[in-house]
C-alpha cells in the first residue's frame, strides 16, 4: 500500500468505527464523558474544591486509557462476531493501519470528555506552553500504549464476554492502582512499588508535575519520560511479535 492509500484506509476506519456509529447512537459520546466527570465531581466534593486539579489531569489520563478498553472490546467483537479481522487480513490493509485507524476512531468518542477537561485546564490557569507540551506528549504516549496493549489482548480473546471480564483488570492495572487522581506519596510503600510497574504512573506523575501539583526535579522528570517511552516501546514490540493477526 502506498502512503496515500494507508492514510485513506486509516480515515475510512475512523469513519466506520468512529463517526457512523455516533450517527446511529449518539449516547456513545456521553458514555465516555460520564466516568471521568463523575470522578472529578467526587474529588471536588470530597476535597471541598481543593484537589480539583487532580481531577482534571487524572480525567484526561483516564479518558485516554478508556480508548484502550473500548478498543479492546471493539476489536474482539469485530473479530469474532463479524469475522471483520479476517476480511481485513485478506486485503491490502496492514495490521498497524487497522489498529491505528481503530484507535483513532475510539478517540472520536473521547473528544467530548477531552474538550471538557481542556476547557477546565485553561480556565483554571494551568495552561502554559510547557505544561501543554508535557500534557500532549504524555497523553499521546498513554493512548499509544493503551492501543498496543488492547490490540494484543484482543487477539487472544475467544469471545467478547472475555473482554468484559478483563476490563476491571485492565482498569486496575492501568488506572486504579497507578496514582492518577492523587500523588504517589499518598500510597503505602508496597502499593508505591506495585504502581511503579504500570506505565500510567509515570504519565500521571509527569502531568501532575507539569501543573505544579507536585514538585518534580529535572532528573525525576527525565527518568519518568524514559520509563514511559520504554514501556510504550515494549508494548509495541509485544504487539508486533505476539498479537495474532494471523490465527495459529
Amino acid at each position: 500500500m502506498s502512503e496515500r492509500n494507508r492514510l485513506r484506509s486509516l480515515l475510512t476506519l475512523v469513519q466506520i468505527n468512529g463517526l457512523i456509529p455516533i450517527r446511529t447512537q449518539p449516547l456513545y459520546l456521553i458514555n465516555l464523558v460520564a466516568s471521568p466527570l463523575s470522578f472529578l465531581f467526587f474529588i471536588w466534593i470530597v476535597s471541598r474544591g481543593a484537589d480539583l486539579a487532580y481531577g482534571v489531569m487524572g480525567g484526561m489520563v483516564l479518558t485516554m486509557l478508556s480508548v484502550g478498553t473500548g478498543l479492546q472490546s471493539d476489536l474482539t467483537h469485530y473479530r469474532h462476531d463479524m469475522k471483520f479481522q479476517d476480511v481485513v487480513v485478506a486485503s491490502p490493509v496492514e495490521a498497524p493501519v487497522y489498529v491505528g485507524g481503530m484507535a483513532l476512531s475510539e478517540l472520536v468518542y473521547s473528544l467530548p470528555a477531552l474538550a471538557v477537561f481542556v476547557i477546565l485546564f485553561v480556565y483554571y490557569g494551568y495552561a502554559t506552553p510547557e505544561s501543554s507540551a508535557v500534557l500532549v506528549g504524555a497523553l499521546l504516549l498513554v493512548w499509544s500504549f493503551a492501543t498496543a496493549f488492547a490490540f494484543t489482548l484482543a487477539t487472544y480473546f475467544q469471545d467478547v464476554r472475555e473482554t468484559w471480564m478483563f476490563s476491571p483488570i485492565f482498569s486496575l492495572v492501568l488506572t486504579v492502582l497507578p496514582p492518577v487522581y492523587y500523588p504517589i506519596s499518598y500510597l503505602p510503600g508496597w502499593a508505591q512499588v506495585a504502581a511503579r510497574f504500570s506505565p500510567t504512573t509515570y504519565a500521571a506523575e509527569l502531568v501532575q508535575g507539569a501543573v505544579g501539583l507536585q514538585h518534580l526535579s529535572f532528573d525525576t522528570a527525565v527518568i519518568d519520560w524514559i520509563v514511559l517511552v520504554g514501556f510504550t516501546a515494549a508494548l509495541f514490540l509485544i504487539a508486533a511479535f505476539k498479537a495474532r493477526w494471523k490465527d495459529p
Binding site: N5, T24, D86, V89, A90, V93
Partner: protein
C-alpha cells in the same frame, strides 16, 4: 494459463488438538488461475481450514502453499494486496447501510473514491441490492446480509476471491444472481476459490473441483473427470414396488419417496432400466450428478472407516 494457488503436502493441526486427526493432511493441489475452483466435502472436512490458509488468515503446520507465486508463510504482504475474502461466518457491520458496507470496504482497500463509487453502484445493481442501498444492515434479512458481503468482494479489484459458502441462505434467484456475478468475475480473468454445500452450484460454476474428506483430498478434477472416476457413474430411479434385494445386485441402492434410487455402472444401469420397464414400473436413467458422486465416494469412505470421529476443537 498459470496457477493461482499451489500447495504441497500441506498439513494443518490446530493448536491443542491433541490426539485428534489433522484438519488437513498431505494436501497437494494446483489451482489454475482465471477459473472457479470448487471445494466440496462434508462438515469438518477441512474446506474452511484450506481457504483460511490460502487467504493468509491461518498459519499452516507443515508443507507449503503459494498464492500467485508467493509463499503464504513469508510473503503475505504481496499476496494480500491481490486477494479478497468472504469468510464463512462473516457478517457485515450492522450499523452501516448496504451502500456503506461496499463503498467503505473499497475505500479501506485504498481505492479512490470515484472508482469506489462506480464499483459500488455496479455491484449493488448486479446483485439486485440497489433498492436496499440505504437500509441499515441490522434491518436486513439473513440472506440479504450474505449478498451484501458477496457484493463487497466482487466489487473489489482483487485478483483472487475466496468465497467460503457465499450462497448459504440465499433464495434460488439470488443464488443465480451471485453465480452470474461470479461468471462475470471470471470473464474479467479473476480466480475464485469457492466452497459450497450446494453441489449443483459447484457443478454449474467450477472448472475444476476438489472433494475433501476428513482433511484429505479424495477426488480432484473437472466435473467430467470426477464422474469418470466413480464406481457407479449412472443413476436409475424406480418408482413402484420392487424387492430391494433384487436391486442390490445392480449397484448401490437407497430408498427414496415411493421407490428406490440405484447407482450403477453403465451396462447394469441399462439392464435394470429395461427390467423395470418390462415390469411396468416408472423409470428414470441418467448420469450421476455431483451429488451422486459425493454420496458414492464419501458414503464409501464412511463405510470403510466407520463413523467420522468427532474432533474436539
Amino acid at each position: 494459463m498459470g496457477f493461482a494457488i499451489r500447495t504441497e503436502h500441506l498439513r494443518k493441526v490446530y493448536p491443542g488438538a491433541h490426539g485428534a486427526s489433522a484438519a488437513l493432511e498431505d494436501l497437494t493441489l494446483d489451482i489454475p488461475d482465471g477459473r472457479v475452483y470448487g471445494v466440496i466435502g462434508r462438515n469438518g472436512a477441512g474446506k474452511t481450514t484450506f481457504v483460511r490458509i490460502a487467504a493468509t488468515q491461518l498459519v499452516l503446520t507443515s508443507g507449503s502453499a503459494t498464492v500467485l507465486g508467493h509463499d503464504v508463510a513469508t510473503e503475505e504482504r504481496a499476496i494480500r494486496t491481490r486477494i479478497a475474502c468472504v469468510p464463512q461466518e462473516a457478517r457485515p457491520l450492522y450499523f452501516l447501510n448496504v451502500d456503506e458496507v461496499v463503498y467503505l470496504y473499497l475505500k479501506l482497500r485504498g481505492l479512490d473514491p470515484a472508482d469506489a463509487r462506480a464499483r459500488t453502484k455496479d455491484a449493488l445493481e448486479q446483485l439486485s441490492l440497489t433498492e436496499f442501498r440505504r437500509r441499515t444492515v441490522s434491518r436486513l434479512s439473513g440472506g440479504l446480509r450474505r449478498r451484501v458481503l458477496c457484493a463487497m468482494v466482487l466489487a473489489s479489484d482483487a485478483e483472487i476471491l475466496f468465497l467460503d459458502e457465499p450462497t448459504t441462505g440465499l433464495d434460488p434467484i439470488a443464488r443465480r444472481q451471485v453465480w452470474e456475478a461470479i461468471r462475470r468475475a471470471i470473464r474479467e480473468r479473476r480466480t475464485i476459490l469457492l466452497t459450497t454445500h450446494y453441489l449443483d452450484e459447484a457443478e454449474a460454476l467450477s472448472a475444476r473441483l476438489a472433494l475433501f474428506e476428513r482433511g484429505r483430498l479424495v477426488l480432484e478434477g473437472t466435473p467430467e473427470d470426477l464422474r469418470a472416476r466413480v464406481r457407479y457413474p449412472y443413476r436409475v430411479t424406480i418408482q413402484g414396488s420392487t424387492p430391494r434385494e433384487e436391486l442390490q445386485s445392480y449397484g448401490r441402492v437407497s430408498a427414496i419417496e415411493g421407490g428406490f434410487l440405484v447407482f450403477a455402472r453403465e451396462s447394469e444401469a441399462r439392464d435394470l432400466a429395461r427390467l423395470a420397464l418390462e415390469r411396468g414400473l416408472k423409470v428414470g436413467l441418467g448420469p450421476v450428478s455431483l451429488e451422486g458422486i459425493f454420496l458414492d465416494v464419501v458414503g464409501r469412505s464412511i463405510e470403510d472407516e466407520g463413523p467420522t470421529p468427532e474432533v474436539e476443537g
